[in-house]
Symmetry: C2
Subunit: 161 residues, 2 copies
DNA sequence: AGCCATTTAGTTGTGCACAATTGAATTGTG
DNA sequence: CACAATTCAATTGTGCACAACTAAATGGCT
């Protein structure tokens, strides 16, 4: 071993402050903290809010479709939807024409909650201090990144298999 | 169904695809998936890898300092560090001069793991298809955002109190 | 029709994030 | 010194992410 490695030239690729993933993770959790405060009034967690957004936009959907919109699987959605159902915001019912599928519908209360949710994006936007174009550009960048990462993870998984 | 609300003009602020937080969250989870595959060889999860990065860079640290670097509290770190200890990568010992504090040190094995971790950033960078300057710019942007969000969450919390 | 691969939700188990609380050690103040 | 306030780690409890598996329903194929 001899003498601590400490190579740390200006290009130490293992430095935390050089890792994009850390900045991303930190920003994601900072958003989480802000949403937590704002959504508490609505009785929603952030992932629950995302589910409600999809339902408000598309109406009733099977769990599968919901998962495609949000990139989440039934392992995450099943318990989350149960909690939304317990809160009286959604109903879950087996599809008549395909008994495997469970369709998620808004209740009256769930539909009504949309009105109160309208102020959420405004409060969030106020917090970022970024203007609309900056947000759009950043979002586009991140989506590019996500596509590249998903493709790479896919390729990696297949190489490993 | 009495006419779905569907206000959806081109500025429906509740549309999922307009929300920066969703892109951020998606990118963060996409990174997670990629790291999961790469770090499996090292026997680390992504948060465990972050802890190891800090230890490789700074050497032994009390849990508190570790948490400041990573923005994590003892509720997250305590069990995580126990798992790293069980894996033989770190030792935890009460500080002699302040019995409240627990110092986390790398074991030989933990120090040695750094060599094998050197290829991780390379593999990640290859997956992003972004060049170094783009990454740097994106990271700077995200860090700005994080600062703004933390400040806003702080202000929000105080207003609520 | 009978059989089999696929699809769809749900369940189980592991690990992380975070709020709230506990308990011990330390520090500040009278 | 005594005692209140603070600091630090750990614990408890809730909820999310994801892998692996189960069970039921479906659709294709012979």
């Amino acid at each position: 071993m001899s003498a601590t490695p400490t190579p740390t030239p200006s290009t130490d690729w293992l430095r935390l402050d050089q890792q994009i993933c850390f900045s991303l993770n930190a920003a994601s959790r900072a958003f989480g903290g802000l949403y937590r405060g704002i959504l508490k009034d609505l009785g929603l967690t952030y992932p629950q809010y995302l589910v409600m957004l999809v339902l408000w936009e598309h109406g009733g959907l099977p769990v599968k479709k919901l998962g495609e919109h949000l990139r989440l699987d039934s392992g995450t959605l099943s318990p989350l939807l149960k909690r939304l159902e317990a809160a009286g915001l959604v109903r879950r019912e087996r599809s008549a024409r395909d008994e495997r599928s469970v369709e998620v519908h808004l209740t009256e209360e769930g539909t009504a909650l949309r009105e109160r949710a309208l102020e959420v994006p405004r409060r969030i936007a106020a917090a970022t201090s970024f203007d609309v174009d900056e947000i759009r550009a950043l979002r586009a960048r991140l989506d590019e990144l996500t596509v590249a990462l998903d493709a790479a993870a896919e390729a990696d998984a297949e190489a490993g298999a």
